[in-house]
Symmetry: C2
Subunit: 142 residues, 2 copies
DNA sequence: CTTGCTGCAAACAGTTTGCAGAACT
DNA sequence: AGTTCTGCAAACTGTTTGCAGCAAG
């Protein structure tokens, strides 16, 4: 929910002594209005077209903040760009990535999550987050 | 097994009409002698110290060939470098990555692999490979 | 008024590429 | 001989950073 996310960021900003600025508000709004895995460049273009005087360094800096605040997550695919996706509390989805058309299907699987916890426990490892990507051909491309 | 890997590459080279060169042999030897997830830079340094006249462009180009030949796999962690790991036929391991000390523990889990196949089937997706990384704190760092 | 934030441009890091000469078949 | 491969350096791409001015508290 969008308002909830804004609150997460406000709280984070408060706890870190960060200022609330026009740029951050705009970038957050636009980020929240996107879906899936947006690259910094793509987001920058959207921001630019709504508010041309925002620079891309700010977009980079702001997305890092979002990630730190826990409302976005960096993901690395194999296209040389850093992408960000929304973090939804308590939910975690993984990705089927088509290597031909680059489409991405998200899925969730409780059992896999559970197994991961078991594995982590066995190694004395404390999970912060995880990433599962399956590469191959999607239904259309095969 | 090292000889088997060399054969994989020889066969691949043959099928693609690639030449066998001193550089590729040396880089392959050194790559096979490494463990875990070596970055191109690290490998280049090893190569350089054994054979100073090999350039890093060649190392980059050669590692791509290895990946194409199926004996290495590119992995992206969050440190801005592309790393390569060995591909062992029929085996697939995943990673527990410590976000503090950057250590990596490998693990394997049959059940997760199975579940992945199910999920892919359900989406009409044909798996080529996959990547599961769990981030958090290792036993030493927590 | 103080300090953090921003835009700009320059700097950076990792990777790729053009090209002339060397090496393989 | 013909073609692929290599080393070098320059080019590129995505990202980060220094700094002077701007804006929030």
């Amino acid at each position: 929910m969008i308002l909830a996310k804004k609150k997460i960021f406000t709280d984070f900003a408060l706890s870190k002594g960060l200022r609330s600025t026009r740029q951050r508000d705009i970038i957050l709004d636009i980020f929240l209005s996107t879906h899936q895995h947006i690259s910094v460049e793509e987001l920058y273009l959207k921001v630019k077209s709504s508010t041309p005087d925002i620079g891309q360094a700010t977009v980079y800096r702001t997305l890092k903040l979002f990630a730190e605040a826990g409302l976005a997550r960096e993901i690395l695919l194999h296209d040389g760009q850093t992408r960000y996706e929304h973090v939804v509390a308590g939910e975690h989805h993984d990705h089927l990535v088509c290597t031909k058309c680059n489409s991405i299907v998200e899925f969730e699987n409780e059992t896999i999550e559970m197994l991961q916890n078991e594995i982590a426990d066995r190694h004395g490892f404390q999970i912060r987050n995880h990433k599962l990507e399956i590469y191959g051909l999607c239904a259309n491309c095969r």
